[in-house]
Subunit: 412 residues, 2 copies
């Protein structure tokens, strides 16, 4: 891939505002710049969560989020508060109120969301890495769309203090970066663990339902990378189905992972946001208004089954995955949509059933509390797509080490 | 122990208000009543978090917290919103604004907090079990003081959606119950896992620093139980030091666990509450006002070291503990204080250095993300004290099974 050209702040449209927070100490991130998604607190600023009325009805943050202070304390400086999708629930990358940040690798296409500005800032060269959050794909999807690295950590290992909660059973704070090296350097600060330089790999499982769920063009574009992985993992590459992981029975496919994670996230989001929506009656985009109607009316008696299914899948994944084993599949099932979807119905917008298909892929790490990294390893028609590697819960440092290895072998 | 006599709602003083939420479905908790700590949302009610100004400045909850809906969906009914300590940060059990719920087993002594009303409701027979939260001991301490069972779950496995966040890296939602059986029945609903009836035990590690940290009277009172455990675990009972778990080197003792967890929790709490405190300028008890001054002024450059130490301890514990191994030590280092500490300086209040000593014990599960259950297995001078068992992260169902076994062998 060609080196990234630098874009101006105006061209990128990544930031709600630029800021200048100096490092609080010297450390492994000396000299590096980072952006912060606007649902993560920066002391002295209002956190808007992509909604002007959220910002208006909440006081300025008294303290930085913990993750921000971790990075400032390791030598990095914060340069901008990055736009995100309205109340962090969509994968669009087009905010009805704040606009759509530039995807410099595919300017007619969206960045994806909800960590849209964080992805744009990194892809445009305005930050070396960026903090974002990922509940249902909000780091992985924009990473794939923008041709950068994106890491959703294991659930519960990076503090969410100072980060607005949306669905705490799924919410994670993670990173976007231009290179595997930068991802590892910043990741190791958040994890407080060193990323191994030399990794010994276990088994690599290509999840068959997830591959089948992706466009033929994406499978073809990633085939070169799969060959590379076969070179690295040798005879430990397997085609594995989710049914097999779920005990080999007549278990349900990817649709059940998607449905389970949707119900849980909808109920959690209404528990977290419902009181504010009902009392403030905020200005919402038509899409958000529709979404809140949907989650408000979710039958919460379905929760029992959904929690049971989630925990069963989670336990099965945990028992299946050894500490060095990985799952692998395309991050997104289709390339990024054209821009304009939020305000305009574009006739050239292909009907791809994009949301259910994408959320089916992102649900695997969400349900399983697994770490996942999207690597920018291919393009389809000039639009970047990503390949995802997932590890066992808590194996984030190992996963980041594998990502560095794969990236260097791929010439990234 | 004598059977619990029933107390009236007025005698107990456990509730902010009584409620009547019927079950939404029939299930394993049919016919059981539960109380809910007033930092956990009940739809239609204001959640006060033990602070009148918090309630006043936040809208009524639009939805139940997820854990409440899980229990209602399993057949239980909710009978009360239980008092908690002001903004959930203390272990007192005496709320400056709402009063001190009754500890029926030791009426001159506090229940402990912050899940004070939840513990009182259970101990007074007004609820079969109660939901509470535990960041730094808020379920375990009142369980020990009130002579009931208290379970702090593994971090991240019970959803906190609809529960006010204070220190999300440590916050957990868990249960108080009168019996091990009720704890298991309700726990298995929250966990979505069955509690094994027949458990095969691994090693039991009596943590030497934690035992040394407790009053001689507590160690003596628990010695009968330790003998019982030796009968169950046989030659797999070991005296183990935290230094040994931390790699056998010249590592730091319990004081370092306490200090690490304090710094992290203070920083997280200021990230979560600081904006509200600074903008609303709420009425605070003198103790809370002092606490917020303290956490506001914590040097956040200490975060880097604290996160690194926490994650090292957490990894060491995880590597040390097999899936059936347990840690064991007294839940509290001293019996519950006399009532009256919040508003009156009682001359008969012994100077016990209570907070650092207690938080040193509760820090072990907090730092390690481990599940812990306090069992009501002894008394000191007529005041209940607890024995804690801790398991590896995610081994909650196994731990609840062991608790049932130990309870039945102890005649509870």
């Amino acid at each position: 891939m060609p080196p990234f050209r630098k874009y101006t702040i105006q061209e990128s449209g990544a930031f709600v505002e630029t800021v200048a927070y100096p490092p609080t100490a010297s450390g492994p991130l000396d000299g590096l710049r980072f952006a912060v998604k606007d649902i993560i607190d920066l002391a002295g600023h209002r956190t808007s969560c992509g909604s002007p009325d959220w910002g208006r009805t909440h006081p300025p943050a008294a303290a930085n989020a913990l993750c921000v202070d971790q990075l400032l304390g390791a030598g990095a400086r914060c340069v901008g508060k990055a736009i995100c999708d309205e109340l962090a629930f969509s994968l669009d990358g087009e905010n009805y109120f704040y606009g759509a940040p530039l995807n410099p690798r595919a300017p007619d296409h969206v960045t994806g969301g909800s960590s849209s500005g964080s992805a744009s800032a990194v892809a445009c060269g305005l930050a070396d890495f960026a903090l974002g959050t990922d509940t249902g794909g909000s780091l992985r999807v924009p990473a794939a769309n923008c041709g950068i690295f994106g890491w959703r950590p294991s659930h519960g290992f990076i503090s969410t203090a100072g980060v607005t909660p949306f669905a705490p059973g799924f919410d994670t704070v993670g990173l976007l970066a231009e290179s595997a090296d930068l991802l590892s350097r910043a990741g190791s600060v958040l994890l407080a663990a060193s990323v191994p330089g030399d990794v010994e790999v276990g088994a690599l499982h290509l999840i068959s339902e997830a591959w089948a769920n992706a466009d033929q063009e994406i499978r073809a574009a990633l085939s070169r990378t799969v060959k590379l992985l076969q070179g690295l993992f040798g005879d430990k590459v397997h085609e594995t189905s989710l049914r097999e992981i779920d005990g080999g029975g007549a278990g349900l496919g990817l649709a059940s992972w998607y449905e389970t994670s949707s119900i849980l996230q909808w109920c959690e989001m209404w528990s977290c946001l419902g009181s504010w929506v009902e009392s403030v009656k905020p200005a919402l985009s038509p899409k958000a208004a529709k979404f809140f109607e949907l989650i408000k009316n979710t039958d919460r008696r379905r929760l029992g089954d959904a929690v049971r299914t989630r925990e069963r899948y989670c336990r099965r994944l945990k028992n299946f995955l050894g500490p060095r084993d990985l799952l692998c599949f395309p991050t997104v099932p289709a390339p990024a949509r054209f821009k304009g979807g939020v305000k305009v119905d574009r006739p050239d917008q292909p009907k791809t059933n994009y949301y259910p298909r994408t959320l089916s892929l992102t649900a695997i790490a969400g349900i399983g509390r697994l770490p996942e990294v999207s690597l920018p390893l291919a393009e389809v028609g000039g639009v970047p797509v990503g390949l995802s590697l997932l590890a066992a819960p808590g194996q984030d440092a190992y996963l980041l080490g594998v990502v560095q290895l794969v990236a260097s072998r791929s010439g990234l």
